[in-house]
Point group: C2
């Protein structure tokens, strides 16, 4: 029986753009586990009430329920140890640093480039919730948050220096093979890739080239993703 | 026979403040390997010419010469596999991301808080070289680079968010035990800790509390360090 993944979707149910759900999609594909995704919208809290919280990703695996992308990665590593996501407890702890970096630095920075664009792709029933919750978080209108992005994109690219520097010596964040660290960062970048037409990366950036390799993995899972 | 480490020193030969040499000091202590340090100054290039390059750390181990803190960590892990620094190839690759983050984000940011203070502790023979090379790098006088640091320190602390977030779930960057990821970040923080009296961290910051645990490790190696 396939694992079921509740996956954030836009008005178009095929448009999937959550940076956290993409981490889980990549991790499931890494393990070679079949998945059946259920399109889910921000205001569908009741649909995942069985998980005891209100955010996706949520997976159901033969009666087991796990939410939160990090907890899901842990669960998958325990259920299906190979191919490994973490390479053992030290690798897992170091991946937790990568996760913390992506969550605290990357997600907030990317939001400031695409948050207004998201309004154009999300389901109409989500629009009021999305605008009011995000405007409260930023203390500004979505239009104001996203304004001037062309002038800010160079500074954004500088935030990716650690990835760029790492890729001088390694093909993947996981070294010779992709690991959950790759899924964390590539999953995060699937968010702007799918939800917006704004080009965050220059084509000749080693980070963009690595992203291209990630899109091709797992039978072209990322490459096949629907884009806005 | 002890490993010999060429270690950046100030005018006071007991004042050691290189963020890269400290990574090596912690890694050697982690392995329980005895070390004999040789105080080295920026203008002592000829003294380490045998290493084929001009920067410390450089180690000599029974005729073997290794330079560069990352290459030294690799060498130590190969020579003395336990206790592990990396926890295997995936953990090593993830640690390389931490190293890239420290080098590309942390080192440059810290420099802007202490680079003028360094002039007060380095050997008099290093002063002209240090001022001219660093002022060329920054395109400004050392005084101008360091100016206004009280107003910039909150933004610096935000750069440490990934560490802070990670430490919510783990005692060490390496998880349940310190790893080379701890040595990278703690070694980098030994630089301002030893070279300047400017307080980069607030005492109640979880990062400062973790730093305190790092200072206590290995018989209080960091705690015993001479400070400016």
């Amino acid at each position: 029986m396939s694992i079921v993944l509740y996956d954030l979707a836009g008005a178009d149910p095929d448009l999937r753009f959550s940076p956290y759900c993409w981490r889980t999609r990549f991790a499931l594909a890494h393990k070679g586990l079949p998945v059946e995704t259920v399109p889910w919208r921000f205001t569908d809290g009741a649909v995942i009430a069985f998980s005891g919280q209100g955010k996706v990703p949520v997976i159901q695996d033969a009666g087991k329920v796990v939410s939160d992308s990090w907890a899901i990665a842990d669960y998958l590593e325990e259920q299906a140890p190979t191919p490994t996501l973490f390479g053992g407890p030290t690798g897992r702890a170091h991946a937790s640093f990568v996760n913390a970096w992506a969550d605290s630095i990357l997600v907030g920075a990317i939001a400031r480039f695409i948050v207004r664009d998201l309004l154009d792709i999300i389901d109409s029933k989500d629009v009021d919730y999305f605008r009011s919750s995000r405007e409260a978080r930023f203390g500004a209108t979505l239009e104001a948050v996203q304004a001037g992005r062309e002038d800010r994109v160079a500074a954004f690219r500088d935030l990716l220096l650690p990835v760029r520097l790492h890729l001088r010596k390694h093909q993947w964040l996981g070294g010779a093979a992709p690991s959950y660290a790759d899924h964390i960062v590539a999953g995060t970048l699937m968010w702007p890739y799918c939800a917006s037409r704004f080009e965050l990366l220059e084509a000749n950036d080693p980070v963009a080239q690595w992203q291209g390799r990630m899109l091709d993995l797992y039978g072209g899972l990322g490459r096949a993703a629907k884009r806005a």
